[in-house]
Symmetry: C2
């Protein structure tokens, strides 16, 4: 993404692809790198197969996220960072641990039927996540199409591994995922100050539009996360107990002591 | 898009934006123009407001389609062409005419509640279409985010009108929509022949993956449409009766005779 931004400074638009990579963390991290250069940033990656195509029953597509970041003026930047499945696999695990049913439309069992049992939508086993939209009638094939678009821009454009070639079969060596990065220099299209002003106006229009009964606020992509960052910078980053326990246990194994430090 | 493709021949990547435009027809038409030049084509447009943001109740966003086309070898090209709402407004009208309920999750009434009554999801009136995904629990905010991404790339990057500024208020002058076109020269990344071979392999892998119970085929984005073209080129383009009647009535008004010609 750094390369991409540097090239876009000279050439206005740049794309970089990466192959034979591992999990790259948060897709939005890379897209957001473009913001401080007054650029639009895009970051995509394929991932290990967890999603079934529409009318399929096996996990052959990754949750292939799309991240898109656009600079703003007084408002928070617009930062979309979304899996192209309805939910990521971690969400299914949370429901399984809570011993709760998952909503119909998140996942399918090993016959390809929609299931409310989180255990039937297991990572690596039979069953799979559903693409954004869910069922056919709710246009899940659009989410499936977006997932394949990401697969093409990441894996096929770079010549990396695709679909079921990615992930677990290669572990513990590498996941063999591919990424796509893009930077667009706003100033090549119009003065950045005008672009930012219009982003602010658009966000204001959205936020001031009429609310559904029982709702008092309309959110913009990335807004909740920016508010969390602000809160956490003051109050510390909350970590759930199982993660703390895992950190302590890994620390013991590696001889690294665990210390609780007060927030500075 | 022609400009875009010509520029991409020299520069490998090109983006063109358009503002103060009218309905541009089929988004996929422009994306597909890139295919014969062995390029990836992208075409986006904003449109008159018909979709409510998540937690909103008014139509403030267009159905803002995304089209993405990638060249293939022996398989049909991959051509995604999708509204970022669950369904377009025309689909609601079809259910209204058939006096049938719409599936829960396609549209909301004027309180912002999901409704199954197509009359409550009217174009220009209260009520609105829902973004891809539908409800909050089914991650409709992702479709909402994609719709705004399209709005930014079309309206904000070009300096055109956005959201509720688009469409009906300006009629019958111009709709004031904005478009985004992009062409990516595959050969700049890897030999086109290798790219096409991998697209074919990926499509084969998808099509040969296990089918859900009761399904015998997995489709690829654009495949049904390519098959329709093939069929229609032989058998003629089917036109529904109300359209024929409208053509006859408009013909009479304008003094243009209506003739039924046999298929050549």
């Amino acid at each position: 993404m750094k390369n991409c931004i540097e090239k876009a400074k000279k050439l206005n638009i740049a794309i970089a692809t990466v192959k034979n990579s591992n999990h790259y963390g948060i897709a939005g991290y890379y897209a957001m790198m473009a913001l401080k250069e007054d650029m639009i940033g895009i970051s995509l990656t394929n991932s290990q197969p967890l999603v079934a195509p529409t009318y399929g029953k096996s996990a052959v597509i990754g949750t292939n996220p799309i991240s898109f970041a656009a600079p703003s003026g007084r408002q928070y930047p617009f930062v979309l960072d979304m899996a192209t499945s309805v939910v990521p696999i971690g969400r299914i695990k949370v429901y399984d641990e809570k011993k709760e049913k998952i909503p119909a439309g998140w996942g399918i069992d090993d016959d390809g039927n929609v299931t409310e049992d989180p255990k039937k939508v297991k990572s690596g086993g039979p069953g799979a996540l559903m693409p954004l939209g869910g069922t056919d009638i709710m246009r899940g094939y659009k989410g499936y199409g977006l997932g394949i678009m990401v697969e093409i821009l990441c894996a096929v454009l770079s010549g990396g591994s695709h679909l079921t070639q990615v992930g677990f079969p290669h572990m513990p060596k590498i996941c063999d995922v591919s990424h796509f990065f893009m930077a667009v220099n706003v100033n090549a299209f119009r003065p950045v100050i005008d672009f930012k002003k219009q982003i602010d106006e658009m966000i204001t229009l959205l936020k001031e539009s009429p609310k559904a009964t029982g709702k008092d606020r309309i959110f913009i992509a990335g807004e909740k996360e920016f508010e969390n960052v602000k809160y956490n910078e003051k109050h510390g980053v909350p970590v759930i107990k199982p993660v703390v326990e895992e950190l302590i246990s890994n620390g013991k194994r590696l001889g690294i002591p665990f210390e609780l430090s007060p927030i500075k």
